[in-house]
Symmetry: C2
């Protein structure tokens, strides 16, 4: 990766997801890579950081997560809105060349047995915490964060800097029918007693 | 409630949370009401709509949810940023007058045994789906949505209309240390193949 790809300290990894962005979920097993979009991903714990993500039974990525025991959640940007919607609406089962066709570029990090998607703003590498009942009954997967990174052009020193970055770095928040909202303005409650 | 308070059709209730807003969690048991903020709330299913929310063992609201079996997730607005941060950082255990002190106004809906917070943009009344292992091991609570409502000034016809509403209606997305982002601009992917 490039010079802007930096590790995020484990205790602050939750902040990469805390504002509720739509994410890309990537996984690899037995030579097969896949990437899907998921609006239903959420932080679950601070330390060790954990996450939840909902993976439908029809998703090819889900099988790769179950087989490999690893996945990466990454935060796509406004510049990747088309890619995000495309990988969220096309299955690898129907379209084996899906990643190449939608311009998804992958890279690896030592020790992480799942691929990362280039061009995102942040990445959380997760080890699956097996919970068969949740997975079967609710399609709900829990991961423990084993590594976190961000692009320093938009997240550094433990904080997002959307307000200083090019608007194309803003996170995406999916609604339905191809419509997203980008994250907006920062506001800080100075005196919570007021 | 006022003329702008309208039911949301059950199949579209997930859209109230899909963009990942910070929520207020309210519950009532045995004459005690409480409201807390939660950044870790997420949609879990479409129909019947379900949600997840993380409720720490130290939260008084958690006990009310466990005892009553009901809670409401509601989406606070930029105008409520101070209130949201305040109820998220003060416990009813230490501050019995917390709701009055921070200007939290509650109202009721027939058939919902938990209070709703006035001034929010959307509300999801939920019946707790008991999952003792998730609750104990992960502080993770699952709810089935039994009613959904929104303020038509910002959500109507199954869609958010942040772009046409006063900016004070925008949803809040908490990071840390009193800092939130408001939701921003709408963008629609017209041709996901492109």
């Amino acid at each position: 990766m490039n010079e802007f790809f930096r590790e995020v300290e484990p205790g602050k990894a939750y902040r990469l997801l805390n504002h509720g962005p739509t994410v890309l979920v990537s996984a690899r097993h037995d030579g097969t890579d896949n990437v899907m979009a998921a609006a239903w991903a959420c932080a679950l714990d601070f330390s060790p950081a954990k996450v939840t993500v909902v993976l439908d039974k029809s998703a090819r990525t889900r099988a790769l997560v179950e087989q490999s025991g690893y996945f990466v959640l990454q935060v796509p940007t406004v510049a990747q809105a088309g890619l995000t919607h495309a990988v969220g609406t096309h299955s690898l089962a129907d379209d084996p060349a899906k990643l190449a066709r939608f311009g998804v570029e992958l890279f690896g990090v030592d020790g992480v047995p799942a691929p990362l998607v280039a061009g995102c703003s942040a990445w959380l590498a997760c080890r699956l915490v097996p919970e068969p009942h949740n997975q079967q009954a609710y399609d709900l997967f829990i991961g423990e964060v084993v590594g976190a990174w961000a692009d320093t052009r938009v997240f550094r020193d433990g904080h997002w800097h959307f307000e200083d970055a090019d608007p194309r770095w803003r996170s995406l928040h999916y609604i339905a029918g191809g419509q997203f909202y980008a994250i907006g303005e920062s506001l800080t409650v100075v005196n919570p007693e007021a």
